[in-house]
């Protein structure tokens, strides 16, 4: 498994990546020949119209989906050479995800959801609770620690999802529309969090349409009909 303090500067890379979905006779080329290298500590923003393949590329870069063709590597590891268990471990230990649909676990409280990536690993419950509370404070939800997802507003759930992505002290954060339901104050809070991550040399790959958060990005890429280009 990669070292958090690896000397390699490239955190993420993909070369000639294709993703083709087949639905009956229809063939959808979601990502076509995409190549991208992201250095450690970079904040990269992926933009483009809905259905252009941004989320698919993000999923592949995060090891959630396999490309149809091409190679992807994260923290110096080629995904195609990793077993399913190793890829899971890479995600669990070094990656943080903010999903478009938030995907909180309904029967865990906000504090427990925050530390979900650390469940099943034998951490003392007290330590996890403390960490959960600390993360809740960071996303401004200390007063919601014992609330269940259904008791939170969509924006609050979004903030829990953002906190969860940081629970494992990740080397790379993948965020799909992280500001979709946030007000200006919380977008600013998120921008500060991302700035803090950049200072800690954490890489952020973010899909967004929101120009309120784009100020934190160091590079921009656009996707149109599955074709990636740097702005």
């Amino acid at each position: 498994m990669p070292d958090n303090h690896s000397t390699s500067e490239s955190a993420l890379a993909c070369a000639d990546v294709w993703k083709v979905f087949r639905s009956g006779r229809a063939i959808v080329k979601a990502v076509q020949n995409a190549s991208l290298t992201v250095q450690r500590g970079e904040v990269v923003c992926l933009r483009g119209p809905s259905g252009s393949g941004k989320s698919t590329l993000l999923s592949m870069m995060g090891g959630l989906e396999r490309p149809t063709k091409g190679e992807i590597s994260g923290l110096g590891k080629l995904y195609s050479q990793l077993t399913m268990f190793e890829l899971s471990e890479l995600r669990r230990r070094f990656f943080g995800f903010v999903f478009q649909e938030l995907s909180l676990i309904p029967h865990l409280t906000a504090a427990e959801n925050l530390v979900a990536p650390r469940l099943f690993q034998g951490f003392p419950r007290k330590l996890l609770t403390q960490q959960g509370e600390k993360l809740l404070e960071m996303v401004g939800l200390s007063h919601r620690a014992t609330h269940y997802p259904r008791e939170l507003s969509y924006g609050e759930r979004q903030r829990v999802a953002i906190g969860r992505a940081l629970a494992n002290d990740p080397s790379i954060v993948f965020a799909d529309e992280p500001t979709a339901n946030l007000d200006n104050a919380n977008v600013e809070r998120l921008a500060r969090v991302i700035e803090g991550l950049r200072m800690k040399r954490v890489t952020v790959l973010m899909v967004t349409h929101d120009n309120r958060i784009e100020g934190v990005a160091s590079r921009f890429f656009s996707m149109n009909d599955g074709v990636l280009s740097e702005d």
């Binding site: 498994m1 999923s59 959630l64 989906e65 396999r66 399913m84 268990f85 899971s88 471990e89 890479l90 995600r91 669990r92 230990r93 990656f95 995800f97 999903f99 478009q100 649909e101 995907s103 909180l104 676990i105 309904p106 029967h107 865990l108 427990e112 979900a116 990536p117 469940l119 099943f120 690993q121 034998g122 951490f123 419950r125 269940y148 969860r164 494992n168 002290d169």
Partner: protein, 194 residues
């Protein structure tokens, strides 16, 4: 950071989801409970029909031997209990698939997710089985009010309880296995089912 998976955490998670979902799982407990009660009652009857109650039944049925009939009904009950538990758990697994997908996405290995789900479902069927056994015992207590009722022995009730609990528990094995293979097959589907 540790990467090992700890069984006490799996139990904690399963207990958490079992208790938090109690309301939405009542139908599962009741259905498994009804099947368990049926299995419990018929097993008692079968055991009894083979021993003390045989003569009693022979008299009641006008000379007919009921042991074969109770044996057939008993196996039928076991099959129904197993299939019903499996059906309910498959349905629960389908309903919770998205949640399992989340766990997979944040890096919990698929096998562990299937194990977590199986442990939780084992909890479902144990609750259901206990409901069934309680129902069976209440039935026996009520029937005991009748002077002509031949009460089953503790041993017979013990065997009936083992069937009522064991049969639905066995249904967890195919459900856990099929969930594991679905999670494997849904490598892409799981990721996209966010």
């Amino acid at each position: 950071m540790s990467s090992r998976i700890v069984s006490s955490d799996i139990l904690w998670y399963s207990w958490r989801s079992l208790t938090r979902r109690f309301g939405s799982n009542r139908a599962i407990y009741l259905c498994i409970g009804c099947a368990g009660m049926f299995v419990f009652s018929v097993t008692c009857l079968r055991e009894m029909s083979m021993r003390e109650i045989q003569e009693h039944f022979v008299q009641v049925s006008g000379g007919g031997d009921l042991s074969l009939l109770t044996r057939i009904v008993s196996w039928l009950g076991i099959a129904v209990s197993f299939l019903e538990a499996q059906l309910l758990l498959e349905r629960a697994a389908r309903d919770h698939f998205l949640e399992f997908g989340v766990l997979v996405n944040i890096g919990v290995p698929r096998g562990i997710v299937a194990l977590v789900a199986s442990t939780e479902y084992l909890g479902f069927v144990l609750v259901g089985g206990c409901v069934g056994i309680t129902g069976g015992l209440v039935g026996i207590a009520m029937a005991s009010l009748s002077a002509s009722f031949v009460r089953p022995t503790i041993q017979q009730m013990g065997l009936a309880s083992v069937y009522a609990l064991g049969v639905p528990c066995a249904a967890v094995i195919p459900v856990g296995a099929s969930l594991f293979y679905r999670l494997l097959a849904a490598r892409e589907g799981t990721a996209r089912a966010r």
